[in-house]
């Protein structure tokens, strides 16, 4: 079994997967808004991490580093999706919602409005807000994960909250797809 050492622990790849599979998947899902794609991107995230991990410094903060890989992997996928949306055969009204696989009771509930509001936000602000509220990251950890200055995190979170509030209120008042 392959093991890697970080300052915090000695890990096997299976242990890393077991520890982080749900938070990373959950984070990626909220970034891309699609379960099947989140599965593929989570797989990609772990495989990229496993390949790079043996070469990393032992002082590595594993958690923030994994989220950084997950963020970049999801951003790449969102960029590709934007490119595809320009193609003439693409349904431009398509919302990458996960309505088919969601719990039907949640579709019109608060949880679904929160998820829909998140999906409508600019991706960089969405990532910052998720890391802060869902993952409990500090400003410094968010800065490291999103590769921005710590002062930028303040601006990102401010815009994220403004944007989330706007989208949430619009959805609550029956605002349809954007």
């Amino acid at each position: 079994m392959v093991r890697v050492e970080t300052k915090e622990n000695s890990w096997s790849f299976e242990q890393i997967y077991d520890e982080y599979k749900t938070p990373i998947y959950n984070y990626v899902y909220h970034l891309v808004g699609d379960r099947e794609q989140a599965d593929d991107l989570t797989q990609d995230t772990f495989l990229k991490a496993f390949r790079a991990l043996p070469k990393m410094d032992a002082n590595l903060k594993l958690s923030a580093w994994l989220y950084r890989i997950a963020t970049n992997t999801a951003y790449d996928a969102l960029r590709r999706r934007k490119l595809i949306a320009w193609l003439p055969w693409q349904d431009l009204d398509h919302e990458p919602a996960d309505v088919d696989s969601a719990d039907p009771q949640e579709i019109y509930g608060t949880t679904e409005i929160v998820r829909a509001a998140l999906r409508r936000m600019p991706q960089q602000y969405r990532a910052a807000l998720l890391l802060y509220t869902q993952e409990g990251f500090s400003y410094s950890e968010i800065a490291h994960t999103l590769n921005i200055a710590e002062s930028g995190v303040k601006m990102y979170l401010s815009r994220a909250r403004q944007s989330f509030r706007e989208q949430y209120r619009s959805l609550e008042q029956g605002g349809g797809a954007k």
Binding site: V2, F13, E14, Y17, K21, T22, P23, Y25, N26, Y29, H30, R35, A38, D39, T42, Q43, F46, L47, F50, R51, P54, T110, T111, V114, R115, L118, L129, L130, Y132, T133, Q134, G136, Y139, K154, L157, S158, A160, R161, Q162, F164, R165, Y168
Partner: protein, 125 residues
């Protein structure tokens, strides 16, 4: 401070990330502005909603998909052999490709020479 300026600072105010003078100015403004107080209360509420959002787990098959994928098996193979062997294998494959191309060129060149020689021989007859 006016409402516009305060609204830019509300998020950092909520996270306790403002300098002492900025914090004091925002607090003073909030005491007399119900609209800004309302937005701050909403931010607080939305943070709670987001932090309580149910966690979604990956499909149970994801583990198998990752740990039996060709990418993972290749990586495991490389790591177990100290990262060396796959590179050597790649070099050999690369060298074999070059050898094969040279061989094809030689065969082509020889065939060309043979054809020219046969044609020359016909002319002289």
């Amino acid at each position: 401070m006016n409402c516009e300026r305060v609204r830019d600072l509300l998020s950092a105010y909520l996270d306790d990330q403002l300098s002492a003078p900025e914090r004091q100015s925002v607090t003073t403004h909030l005491a007399s502005c119900a609209d800004c107080r309302g937005i701050l209360a909403e931010y607080h509420h939305f943070d709670a909603l987001l932090s309580q959002l149910p966690r979604i787990s990956p499909s149970p098959t994801l583990h198998t998909k990752i740990f039996t994928s060709p990418r993972y098996l290749k990586l495991e193979f490389e790591l177990e052999r100290g990262l060396q062997r796959p590179q050597v294998v790649a070099e050999i494959t690369h060298n074999q490709d070059i050898s094969f191309a040279i061989l094809l060129l030689l065969i082509g060149f020889s065939t060309l020479l043979l054809l020219r020689h046969q044609r020359h021989h016909k002319h002289t007859q």
